[in-house]
């Protein structure tokens, strides 16, 4: 009886093995397709950034023609600096507001804090496009559309709800006893925040920094609307390249490459923290 059962199990085991192999192969194929779809644009940018217009039309040969045209038509250095200033200022505001607010929502109980948190988080649902014109009118009224300040404030306002949500979630994962231990050890809540909460939330801070950096650096709309021509970001500057009668694809690709590099570098530096920050605070 045992022998016949063992014999019957053999074809079943083989079928299962075959099914496992097919599943793995299908998964691998899907991943390769996804990787090609994701990486091809990068390859396209790199390949065509190093061509002149004629080489691009013929799709043969490489040169620095595109780069020369880019630097001739666009103040690349200045616009990279503009992007950096806007990014750094906006992220600084986002971090100051989100860490303090997140800590307060997570660790300091007060009447109505749940409702306030809900209101802050509900701002996540508001799309940028719907508030663009009202914001432009508001900021024009207070003369903030002729400098970095307008764009910085808009970016900070757009990024703060998500950052606050992330920080509050992260701080909730930190044991209350740890905060209470610091309070008993002689720190007030302010110093507990600075000495204990901030060092412990570095992964979450890194996550907010990376996500906001990528979002603000790559954003076009706010840069075009709220910044004067001489303070445009690199993304907004690149957009103007394609607004002429003829568009030089190689110079556009060269600009895109320059524009993408800082975001990639920031991502690679903080990648480890990014994953940790997104998963920590969600429980054990």
């Amino acid at each position: 009886m045992t022998t016949s059962r063992a014999t019957a199990q053999l074809p079943q085991r083989n079928t299962m093995r075959l099914r496992g192999k097919i599943t793995t192969a299908a998964l691998l194929l899907t991943m390769v397709i996804v990787a090609v779809v994701m990486l091809y644009p990068f390859w396209y940018i790199v390949d065509n950034a190093f061509r002149g217009q004629g080489q691009y039309d013929r799709q043969s040969g490489h040169s620095l023609g595109g780069w020369r045209q880019l630097f001739a038509n666009l103040p690349v250095g200045g616009q990279l600096l503009n992007s950096t200033v806007v990014c750094v200022a906006a992220i600084a505001i986002i971090l100051i507001v989100s860490t303090t607010a997140g800590f307060a929502f997570a660790k300091l109980r007060y009447r109505g804090s749940g409702l306030v948190f809900l209101l802050v988080v509900s701002a996540l649902m508001v799309p940028l496009q719907s508030i663009l014109f009202p914001e432009f009118v508001n900021l024009s009224n207070v003369h903030l559309t002729s400098s970095y300040a307008g764009a910085v404030l808009v970016y900070a306002a757009l990024g703060t709800p998500f950052a606050t949500f992330l920080m509050a979630t992260y701080y909730r994962g930190i044991s209350d006893e740890l905060i209470e231990a610091a309070v008993i050890d002689g720190l007030g809540y302010e110093r507990t925040f600075l000495q204990i909460a901030i060092p412990l939330s570095l992964p979450a801070i890194a996550t907010v920094t990376v996500l906001q950096f990528i979002q603000i650096w790559d954003d076009l709309l706010v840069g075009l609307f709220f910044l004067p021509t001489n303070q445009r970001t690199i993304t907004a500057g690149l957009a103007t390249l394609s607004t002429g009668r003829t568009t030089s694809v190689p110079s556009l690709m060269a600009g895109s490459l320059i524009s993408a590099i800082p975001a990639i570098i920031v991502y690679l530096i903080f990648q480890r923290h990014l994953v940790k920050g997104l998963t920590l605070g969600m429980g054990k």
């Binding site: 740890l178 209470e180 231990a181 008993i184 050890d185 720190l187």
Partner: protein, 392 residues
């Protein structure tokens, strides 16, 4: 060192839950007082109020005679050891221990180094000072938490179940270490635990709390031998005290006119010396009471010393448990078990059985009806209506 007093301290949470009701407690200078009770009884809330982590709804908490209700935790000069140890994970062992001294100020760097070194030596933490908490074992982390409290040289230690995250063996070892440390430092300590063995072995006095109400404060021996009420009687001791609903009757058969406690088919004569010790019992004759008999006061009648005149009852044995140094005999009493006020009754009691902690030489086997001698002088009596012990 400090004297801590709680005067009618009550804590009511915003949702209406009353965690602590009119708690009166005085902890002497240098004393180790243990707060013990089941989960949710309010013992940790009481400790947190003393620490200043919870506001007091009414009543007064005083340290050395000075009310501290409105004083911030950092100004109370007390140290707390938490259940989770609450070590700062980003700091080394040294920095964890020195943390409070650094931020409180008034202590030089050299003094901080000296104090941390002293505490590390006492707690055998010297090899681990540069490590982060995550690189330590549970016992070592517990020691660091103790060290962090010690270096401050506070007026009092508050300990909230500091051993509950350790395994059983380490818990016993650390329990002894904490007791020794407290005695050598002589710092006033309030220790919260739900473990009655921890409470009995550590505390010079033990305060039993249930439902936010203080049930009894006494020495471990006093708690065990003279529980103030049914809750303390059932909570302290393992296996717990056998609590049996009975009726106190004036029986004609007793030559000395002593009353008899009747339960099921059994009648237990209450000796005159017991009546003398519990004079209030006379007022309960003809009424319902609860008998409390510790398992070690029930003996195999065949093994009791010659000359003892303990009353004997015949009980069917349902279960025999071998524990090596003793044998637990579960016997049916043939009447309803006592059900506590909150309606709970553990398995043994709900099955109307009692447990006898018998001599390991006993030959009594499962299924047989055995003669069990009751050391009547140790029997406790409780008012069934109020649950209070009947004494004077």
């Amino acid at each position: 060192m400090a004297r801590i007093e709680l005067d009618a301290v009550t804590k009511q949470f915003p949702d209406g839950t009353t965690a602590v009701r009119a708690l009166d407690l005085a902890v002497g200078d240098g004393e180790l007082l243990v707060l013990v009770g089941p989960s949710g009884c309010g013992k940790t809330t009481a400790l947190r109020m003393i620490a200043g982590l919870e506001e007091v709804t009414s009543g007064t908490i005083s340290i050395d005679g000075r009310p501290v209700n409105d004083l911030e935790p950092r100004h109370r000069d007390i140290a707390m050891v938490f259940q989770s140890y609450a070590l700062y994970p980003h700091l080394s062992v040294y920095d964890n221990m020195a943390f409070s001294l650094k931020y409180r100020g008034g202590v030089s760097k050299a003094q901080i180094r000296q104090r941390v070194a002293d505490a590390a030596r006492i707690l055998e933490l010297e090899p681990y000072l540069e490590r982060k908490p995550r690189q330590l074992s549970g016992g070592q982390r517990q020691r660091v938490a103790m060290g962090r409290a010690i270096v401050r040289q506070p007026r009092a230690f508050l300990m909230d179940e500091p051993l509950s995250n350790l395994d059983a063996k380490l818990r016993v070892q650390m329990r002894a270490e904490i007791a020794q440390l407290q005695r050598s430092l002589g710092t006033t300590t309030i220790y919260v635990t739900h473990d009655q063995i921890e409470a009995m072995t550590l505390g010079s006095r033990v305060a039993v709390i249930s439902g936010g109400v203080l049930q009894q404060v006494a020495s471990p021996q006093e708690l065990y031998r003279r529980p103030a009420n049914l809750f303390v009687a059932g909570f302290i001791g393992s296996p717990p005290m056998n609590l049996i609903d009975a009726r106190l009757e004036r029986a004609g058969e007793a030559a000395d006119g002593a009353p008899v406690a009747a339960f099921g088919p059994h009648r237990l004569r209450v000796p005159q010396e017991v009546i003398r010790e519990h004079p209030a019992l006379e007022q309960h004759v003809g009424g319902d009471i609860v008998l409390g008999i510790r398992p070690e006061h029930l003996h195999d009648a065949a093994l009791i010393p010659a000359g003892t005149s303990w009353p004997v009852i015949e009980l069917p044995i349902r279960l025999r448990e071998e524990l090596g140094s003793e044998v637990h005999l579960h016997a049916a009493i043939g009447s309803a078990a006592h059900v506590s006020e909150d309606g709970s009754a553990d398995d043994v009691r709900s099955l109307a059985t009692i447990v006898a902690k018998a001599d390991p030489r006993t030959k009594i086997a499962e299924g047989e009806t055995a003669a069990i001698a009751v050391d009547a002088s140790e029997v406790q009596f409780f008012d069934r209506a109020t649950g209070a012990s009947i004494r004077r």
